[in-house]
Each structure stands twice: as structure tokens, then as C-alpha cells.
Symmetry: C2
Subunit: 247 residues, 2 copies
């Protein structure tokens, strides 16, 4: 039962939390997966899943999400956002996965509603303290996961793309000082498609909250490009002005 | 046990759905409440609550929400949006409300996670087919409700105000042809505060998706005002253009 560490608290047989943590390393987008606990006679030993667990009777869903990340991945203190609830009565398929859940949880689970959190973090620079069982997997190379976890990741990616249209989530993933090309690469990776350079540059340079600096890249072989920074204050003003025109 | 009609399906002791249905009658904002089922020795007979119920083992949360609205209010086929999950382990307070829940559900409930849906509908014109136990209550005159339902309504109002800033939800509540004053009244009611006429008019007339018509109000004592319509197509273009400037 090491799968769920806080055993002094009863696990809830009906409610779970799953976490989709995206990592951006300035080139590609990955998602954090964990190997499920090996069981004797497991037909699919080492099958992978999202970090998740039934909630305990002592915690609300947010606390549960952070506890799960700590226990299964070693991650802590990252911003998690609740974004979906999957509640189909028959989502615990296939039977072999349900059998695995029953044995590792020690509960006769029949139906589980799962509340899903997601997060987007920078994973270049300082390496994260991940547990042995967890690893980053490129979003284009995700294997067959337990239950409906592939669908959950797909929905998280769609959520990410929706948020990009209304929130400047991307900037947290870039260096403080960035080039237009770095910005474009990020958007292309998050959107999963190429963007026309000329239009992108035009669009970005119009934004009053992206500030050109009197600096250029250093230590590059090609012609060093102009650096920019994101001004959160100006962005918030801009956002308020847009917001106010809706009814 | 009439509180929960679908008794051929087992109720889930851990997961419930509650619905916050807002109604706008062109003057004020109301929320739909139901009298809870009377019980012998109920210390607070007729205490009111949001339409809600534990989910049954056969339904997902969306189906549950529509079933609850039909059963407890008579409402059907309105757009419901899931917007919050309340999961505090000790939200089932006070003890007298918990006792009521245990007796009406026939379950020893200890902890219930509730998923909340909300909706905003027009309630002038054709009256809605409400059940005897349900009634519209002005958002400024809501009594003490069961459990944390007052908090849930407060959070739904905040959600409504957030959405107003990014979605044109208001227009569905107005006649197809409306005056700037009707638009302003609506926004004032939803925001719960007065708005400066001159600025509001200026702001609205700038919006390319609010189309002036060659018509004025009819049958009014005061000088008939210009009528306008909301153009969803132009709005969506406008929204896309705004969306595209974010990263």
C-alpha cells in the first residue's frame, strides 16, 4: 500500500485527485508521469499514470493535490489550478486497471469521481527533485496510461491553449529578458503548430506591455537579437481596459 | 425520502451536486431556492436550500445537475455551467442540517464533496413551470440557508461578475432589440453597483458588435430611445482579435 502514504487517514473510495504537470524546457513541452506501484501478477508491470490518489477523509481537494505531488513526484510549492471533474460512472476501465486500484488502495472501489489539477512550470536550469518513480514525458510521446489518463492530458492541453488566449501564462516560462524568437518558440510549442514569423513579430511589437530593452543576446553565434521584458503592471492595466468593454 | 426521487439508483454518500440558478427580470437579480423536505421534529421547518442532491451511482455530474433541477424546481433544458467544487471535510455544518441530510437520504453521511453548477436565465415574459417547493428570492434578501449554501451563492455571484468581464453573457437576458439604458440597468444589477451614464454610453457605442438600429422604443411615456442589437458574429471576430494578442 505504499502507493498512498498517508495511511493514518482513511482514503475515500469515491473521490480522487489527479495532477497534470506540464514542464517547458525552452524547446519542448513534457508532462510528469509516474510508474504505478508494481503488483505481483500485474499484467502490465510499470504501466504509467498521472500523479493521483483518492482523497483522505482529513483533507480538502487542494491539500490532497499538493500532498499527492509531494509523495509521488517530490514536487512542492508549485501553482496548481483545478480545471476539470471527470465523473462518468464507468470511467474506471479497463478491468485490469480497476483491479490494480482495488489492490493498491485496499478498497472495493466501484466508481470514482476525479478532480483534475494542472500546472505549467519551467524545467530548464535547476533540475527538479523528482522521485525515482516519476519522469518527464514529451507530450507527443505519451504511452497508453491507466484509466482515462490519456484523455485527461488531452483536456489539460486544450485548457492550456484556451488560457493562453486570455492570460499571459507563457511569460513565466521564459527568462526575464527574452527574444521575440524565444517567445515565438514557446507559443508554437504550447499551440502545437508553426506560426508565421512576420505576423507574430508585428503582433507582439504592438503590445504596450512587452518592453524593448537596450540590450541584445550575448554569446550566440548568429547576429545577437534584441531583448524584451514582460511588464505585469502594464499588462494588468491593458487587461482591465479590455475587460471593461464586455457586458 | 421524496427528497431524492430516483431511488431505484443508489445515492452516493460522498458526492453531491448543487445548482445556483440566477434569474433576471429586467429589474432585479434573483436566485432559485427550494424549501427542504419537512421532517418530524425538524428544529427549522421549511429552512431553505439550493436545489441539490447526492449523485446516484448511475449518473455523471452533468446528468445529476439536470435531474436535480427537474425534480426540485421543474426547470429543464437551461444551460448549466460547472464552476466550483466545495470539499472542506467539515462543511456539513451545523449538526442539525447534517441530521436532516442523514434522515432524508437514509445514509450515514460523514463528508460530502459538492460540485456546483450555475445558470443565468431571463424570468420576465413567460413564467417558468416551478414546483411548489421552489421560489425565486432576491439576491439581497437571501435567508440563512442549509450548510454552506449562502457561501456558495456568494461565490456564484463573484463568478458571474468575473465572466461578465470576458464573456457577453448579459445579452441573452435582454430583448433582441434593447436600449443603452436597459443594457446599463442589467450591468448595474449584475455588478451590484451604479455606473456613470455618460462613460457607459461612450464605452458601449465604441463596440463594433453592438449595432444601432433604425428603430426607437415604442409605447413609452418618455422620449423613445434608440434601439440596438448584439451581433454575435462580429463579437466573435472581435474576441478572436483580442485573444490573439495574449501569449
Amino acid at each position: 500500500m505504499q502507493e498512498f502514504l498517508i495511511m493514518q487517514n482513511k482514503l475515500n473510495p469515491h473521490i480522487s485527485v489527479d495532477c497534470v504537470v506540464f514542464g517547458f524546457d525552452s524547446r519542448q513541452l513534457s508532462v510528469l508521469l509516474v510508474k504505478r506501484q508494481p503488483l505481483e501478477g500485474d499484467p502490465e508491470p510499470g504501466k504509467m499514470k498521472l500523479p493521483g490518489s483518492p482523497v483522505t477523509d482529513a483533507e480538502d481537494l487542494d491539500r490532497s493535490a499538493y500532498r499527492i505531488l509531494r509523495e509521488l513526484t517530490g514536487l512542492d510549492r508549485i501553482f496548481l489550478k483545478q480545471f476539470a471533474v471527470l465523473s462518468s460512472p464507468d470511467r474506471l476501465q479497463p478491468p485490469s486497471d480497476l483491479e490494480w486500484l482495488r489492490r493498491t488502495s485496499g478498497m472495493h472501489v466501484e466508481r470514482m469521481v476525479t478532480v483534475v489539477y494542472y500546472s505549467l512550470i519551467k524545467i530548464n536550469g535547476s533540475p527538479l527533485p523528482l522521485s525515482e518513480r516519476s519522469q518527464w514525458v514529451n507530450v507527443d510521446e505519451i504511452p497508453q496510461l491507466t484509466f482515462d489518463h490519456n484523455e485527461i492530458i488531452q483536456r489539460a492541453i486544450e485548457q492550456l491553449r484556451r488560457e493562453m488566449l486570455t492570460e499571459p501564462i507563457g511569460f513565466e516560462l521564459l527568462p526575464k529578458k527574452f527574444t521575440i524568437t524565444q517567445l515565438q518558440t514557446l507559443q508554437e510549442v504550447l499551440l502545437g503548430q508553426k506560426i508565421d514569423n512576420r505576423n507574430f513579430r508585428k503582433r507582439i511589437l504592438k503590445l504596450e506591455y512587452i518592453i524593448p530593452l537596450n540590450e541584445r543576446e550575448k554569446g550566440v553565434s548568429h547576429k545577437p537579437a534584441q531583448l524584451y521584458r514582460f511588464d505585469k503592471k502594464l499588462y494588468n492595466q491593458y487587461k482591465r481596459n479590455i475587460g471593461s468593454v464586455y457586458l
